[in-house]
Amino acid sequence: MRLDWELARRGYRRYAAYPAATIAGIFTNTVFGFLRGYVLLALYEHRDIVGGYDAGDAVTYVWLTQGLISIVYIWGWQDLAVRIKSGDVATDLVRPVDPLRAGLAFDFGRALYHALFRGVPPFVVGALLFDLTFPANPAVWLAFALSVALAIGVSFAWRFLYNSAAFWVLDYRGPAVMAMIVANLFSGFIIPVGFFPDWLKTIAYATPFPAMVQTPIDVFVGKLEGVDAVFALAVQLAWLVGLLVACRLVLAAGTRRLVVQGG
């Protein structure tokens, strides 16, 4: 446990080392929040409710996703693939720390930094300038925090899985791009899953991706309440456990396959 904590602190500090990059990121996430917010609001000129969301829920969705981008970090993470490609992963494997567990702890540290410094600021801007929906019940805030934590874990396990493709293919960009496409669409990051036509919604909810973005948001805006919320968190937990088991198997298979040119 103490080791996990230390690793998480390293994760936090690695990202805290670039404050100018953080400010630049906040700026860009905020600008996109405005653009996406106005596009979604335009839907409500014609209807009061779209996909279960009213206008307030929809803009809340936009600003939450803009905050969640760097927290759940569904794209842009290639740390493992890069280490496999360079052979550095061999060092990770001989260390007395399990790479999967170390990676997860490190990622939670990263996510905490991103939550505080890249997640909260755009959301605060959105909250000041748009009419957002806020949970009245403190229990909902707690459930939201839990759901975000689970989302980070699910996202990490997913990233670990597709990065592991580098054990088998020389050029991992192909798998990474495919992974990004399905995750972007089905997580509800680009457009809420509730807006999808039914057949696409069914496909989305058969995947782990809504557990990375859509679930925490639906808890926050109150689309998932009481028993439904508890059930949704349980589904997230199930995906987390399932994907971590898959990571474990893939890592073992990849390790057997790994050949590092020594020197």
């Binding site: 996109f32 405005f34 791009v177």
Partner: protein, 267 residues
């Protein structure tokens, strides 16, 4: 000038040849880029699954707008998207090497690489264009065809100019690169939707001052012979070439200003 153009073309062809060396990787990249950018259009389709109109635009009209913007952006990214690597050049000092060479710095940075995989986005934009045109009843004539071609080219120049202008931030703050994405990728996002959906202040800033409205919005109004929901004067529909030239001049000026003020980290 002619000499620079010749060198530039040789650099482009060298980049294409080198990226074609690994054919499978290249094909996967192009296909990947097609689908990554197509997701933006899936979002448009999902929106129109829920509502019949966005602002005053139907799905086919938005598709038309989207296609022009997407093709223009693909061309811009092919030529100048590599500027995103400028912060690396500055950080590692390779920019200093460029300063010592007898060619323009912008020319050298742009010539260093080309994002050939953006062909995928160009194809995606073309596919959406075919869909839009088949769903719309455009009264085609030579002027309208000309406007489509011209607006994609001018749009590419406008996007490129924006890219050059905003990437200059790395000369002052090397880690600040991501802020430029708000204008480059943000500008692309903005132009994929009719600008009447945005609030007035955002439109003034990100559609007129940063002239993204001239990429697709005004040319689309002309080609589709559509009344402007914002009631703006109709000469704006023909001003994209002028705006493109002006934007390129401003961006070039900004680049020279930034490079003059650039201080190397030394070493």
């Amino acid at each position: 000038m002619a000499d620079s153009a010749r060198v530039y073309l040789r650099l482009v062809s060298a980049a294409i040849r080198s990226q074609l060396q690994y054919r499978t990787s290249f094909a996967l990249d192009v296909v990947g880029m097609f689908f990554v950018t197509f997701l933006d259009f899936v979002a448009v389709l999902v929106i129109f699954h829920n509502v019949p109109r966005l602002g005053e635009f139907t799905v086919a009209e938005v598709a038309f707008l989207y296609a022009l913007s997407s093709m223009a952006f693909a061309l811009a990214e092919f030529g100048v998207g590599h500027l995103d690597a400028l912060s690396e050049y500055v950080r590692t000092g390779s920019f200093d090497v460029m300063l010592a060479r007898p060619r323009g710095t912008l020319f050298q940075v742009l010539g260093a690489d080309f994002r050939v995989r953006r062909l995928g986005q160009l194809l995606q934009g073309a596919a959406v264009f075919v869909y839009a045109v088949s769903a719309l009843d455009v009264p085609w004539n030579a002027a309208r065809v000309g406007m489509v071609v011209l607006s994609v080219l001018c749009g590419a120049v406008i996007f490129s100019a924006i890219w050059v202008f905003v990437i200059c931030i790395v000369f002052w703050a090397v880690e600040g690169r991501e802020a430029s994405s708000a204008f480059t990728y943000g500008g692309q996002f903005m132009t994929q939707f009719p600008i009447d959906v945005y609030s007035r202040w955002l439109r003034r800033f990100l559609a007129y001052l940063v002239p993204t409205a001239f990429v697709a919005y005004f040319p689309t109004l002309y080609v589709l012979d559509k009344e402007d929901p914002l009631g703006l004067p109709s000469f704006l529909r023909f001003s994209s070439p002028l705006v493109a030239v002006f934007a390129a001049i401003v961006a070039g000026g900004m680049w020279r200003f930034a490079v003059r003020h650039y201080r190397s980290a030394g070493g």
